[in-house]
């Protein structure tokens, strides 16, 4: 099964038969499972920092634990590995004291985070380049590879069951445009379940599409001819509002939208709604006319590009509203905006 360990590649065909390819689908419970304890990932992160925003090239300690497992990470030499070493996880079953050694085949250059998915799976996030994230889904206690794929901006749901991310594309794709596709993946399900099956004979990347409307997550679908209008993420990642709702902001043809996907009915049938974010409610062009004169001519025609959302969360007071936080900029009226949940 070692051939299943390809980076950033749709592996559906290669790993068919691995795991339990259960197609049955049921509603998701928005209550996080008791075993889904947030991992301890080395030194405490800065507030809101995503692991893929950490400096690439500095391996920090990685560990995680639940009621059943305690997992720590080490490494050993590996002549055939890209970094010259392989990462080795030690999983200790609490109570019995059983110890399991899991060697991460095709180890990436750097591992940033590991999280337990229920009591039977471990998801590991690594990187070979600065921003592109390798996701490894392993079965416990054997360490058998369940699935592996690459993506951008992965975001794990509070209960560790769902993963939302941006569909993989070449980091330096040449003279093409990248149309961001937002994907969800159920870490408790099989690789086959997590591959769309819209059309026979078409290869699909891991995960079911959330947005934009009409995308299928087919291989290569997100690369468009140069100068094509494309969707782009304008928030610093994807944000889980609770265990089944994920939110992000997207820009397409000068318009920014807040997108909220409700996965309570499962990843195959997401309920996705969006609302237009009026740039004039946050951007004051007069403020940046003088502070950014060189760029003003360009930006004044597309004020949405001046906003970058760094936080999305349910309003503490009103559950039907979402509070957006913006990265500080001299062009902004305010760094906060509250909108009705779409």
């Amino acid at each position: 099964m070692s051939s299943a360990w390809l980076h950033c590649v749709s592996l559906g065909l290669l790993i068919t038969g691995v795991g339990v390819a259960c197609r049955a689908e049921g509603p998701l419970d928005s209550t996080p499972p008791r075993s889904g304890v947030r991992a301890e990932q080395g030194p405490e992160r800065a507030k809101g920092e995503r692991f893929y925003e950490r400096f690439f090239g500095r391996q920090l300690p990685v560990s995680t634990a639940s009621e059943t497992w305690e997992v720590t990470m080490g490494s050993e030499p590996c002549a055939q590995c890209i970094a010259g070493m392989a990462f080795v996880f030690t999983a200790v079953r609490k109570g019995t004291g059983g110890k399991y050694r899991i060697r991460l085949a095709n180890s990436p250059v750097q591992v940033d985070e590991a999280d337990l998915v229920g009591e039977s799976r471990l998801v590991v996030f690594g990187r070979n380049v600065a921003n592109f994230v390798q996701v490894y889904l392993l079965a416990l206690p054997t360490g058998t590879a369940v699935d592996s794929f690459g993506c951008y901006y992965p975001s794990l749901s509070p209960g560790h069951r769902l993963l939302a991310y941006v569909k993989a594309f070449p980091p330096h794709p040449g003279p093409v445009e990248v149309n961001y596709e937002y994907i969800s993946y159920d870490l408790t399900r099989s690789p086959d379940y997590n591959r769309p099956h819209f059309k026979a004979g078409v290869s699909y990347d891991p995960g079911w599409p959330l947005y934009p409307p009409g995308v299928t997550n087919a291989v290569g679908e997100d690369l468009l001819p140069q100068n094509s209008p494309v969707h782009a993420l304008t928030s610093d990642g994807l944000f889980w509002l609770d265990d089944v709702r994920v939110a992000f902001t997207d820009r397409f043809e000068r318009l920014a939208r807040l997108v909220v996907a409700d996965l309570s009915a499962g990843i195959v049938r997401p309920e996705v709604r969006s609302v237009h974010l009026d740039a004039s409610s946050t951007v004051d062009l007069g403020r940046c006319r003088q502070s950014m004169p060189e760029d003003f001519a360009l930006w004044s025609t597309e004020p949405a590009v001046l906003t970058r959302v760094n936080q999305i969360e349910l309003s503490p007071d009103k559950g039907n509203q979402v509070r957006l936080g913006f990265a500080p900029s001299s062009c902004l009226k305010s760094t906060e905006l509250t909108v009705r949940l779409p």
């Binding site: 749709s10 090239g57 380049v129 921003n131 941006v166």
Partner: protein, 586 residues
Amino acid sequence: MRFTPYAVLKNTTAQPLTVTPALNYMPGGSPVTLPLPVQQLKPQETRRLDLPSMLAKLGLGGFNGDANLTFSITGHGGDLMIATGSVDQTGNFVFPVPAEAIGQSFGKSIGHWTVANGVDTMYSLWNPTNSAQDFVVTLHYGDGSGQYVLPLHLAAQDSTAIDIAMLIAMRQPDANGNLIPDYIQEGSVVFSNPKGRTQWMTLAVCGAFYNPRKATCGDYCVDCYGYEDFLVFADPYSVAVGGTVQLNAQGTYADGSVDDFTTSSSWSSNSNSAQVGANTGVVTGVSPGSVQISAQLPALIDITEQICALVGGISCPMVIYDAASSGSSVSVAVTSVNLSSDQVSVTLSGPSGASGQLVVTWNGPSGSANIASATEGPGTYTFNPSLSGLASGQYTGVNAQWTVNGTAATGSYSTSFYVLGTYAQSQYNTPAESQCPVGNGPAFITAVPNNCYWNAVSMRSKFISQTWLNGSGNSDVSGYGLLQEYTTCSAPSGANQNYFQEVSSITPACGGSLSNSTVAWPSSNNNNLGCGDQVLIVGLGSGTGTVKTVNDKCPGCVAADLDNYNTSNACSLTGLGSFQTIRLNR
């Protein structure tokens, strides 16, 4: 006791001198002027005039009162010495009357009057002109506690006398309601034009004191009120080349007040380094150097002791004073700004010895950001400002200000750059360049011609896999790296409609070629950069930093990230670190 007038004349010249005497007196309160016999004085001759006989011939043999004698000559002050007064028949008691040259003046003053110890002070005042004049007589109290102002009108040729003791005894308040207090027994007096202290008047003044009980008397010196302490300020001064500075000329009046004569003076410069407005005192810097600016003030009365110094001499003298200020014409220029070498050069120009505060600042997003601040003289200075500490935002140049003698010369340098902030610097390269233990393969480049784009179904799985590798490949495929679809709508003969061409180098999104001096920018979320921009990565490499050119996209990079192309053959290229990153040239 009867007093009779006397007059003794002396021709002090070596030439004959014609003297025309006249008598002025006030019969019935109206002035009358009568001619007296013309006197032809030989060189150096001294002659006593027989005034009683002359008066008798005019029918004034029994004249009793005050009279003014005038002696007119054509010559210079001092040509004729005069001794006049009155003397009793015994010759023991004399009232000397100092002769005074008649002429225009500002105010006149007598430094002392007294009514103490039986002494009285009297002033004889005569308007010798043919026009009525108004005067103000100001009696200053000796203890400085106040003054008494007495307005005075004298018709043409009118005379009057003021007896201080009598004035005090009359107890008439002045226009301001002041009375001379009884305890005030001495002071000084000023005679002036009521229109102002620098207005002209013509008034003959004689001051005398006498003590009838002791039978003593004497006369006072009459001072001309005028100016002294002429100067030009600021002194020293500085003017910026191309700039202006206002200089002022002023003089100090006898009463201590300071008057400005800037616009009534004639101004001149002794150097081509600066020009000055002929009647304005406005100095314009022309070129760096030292320069003296002079002001020739208008003709003014100098403070002099007129009567006592020159018996029978001149009227209040008018003088033309010159005043000057030495200064410098200075300039400051920001001669170069080189971010990549972290050097800002400033040249200060001016005469040797010029010194002042130099302040050099960035013109940045929050106003001025300091580069240097020091006291400097002429010369060229190069500063190495801290680039890593600059706040994020747009910068438009460097300003320099050199302040010498209170005048600021300024210079500026336009250069646009944008401080992006602290960016993570990651790396990428081709698989062929990554000497990984698992083997390497050729690089594959994707490209999408117009109207044709990726058809994943027809793409070989090998290439599909390779698409994602971006140089950090996987050992499970024989060739890996960047994959670029090269499709055409009219494929070459024998080829599939969509086919892929394997190439050995990467085509960057902006065109051109990749090198260690190129970077890819997060195109999807960073609008401050674009193809062709140059960035200075402060602290990367040796020296100030490294300048690289943006020629590729990195749509997956987070906002504050630059992906540096790297030809290193290391298997894995990790991050370079986080550095202040500056967009150059715009």
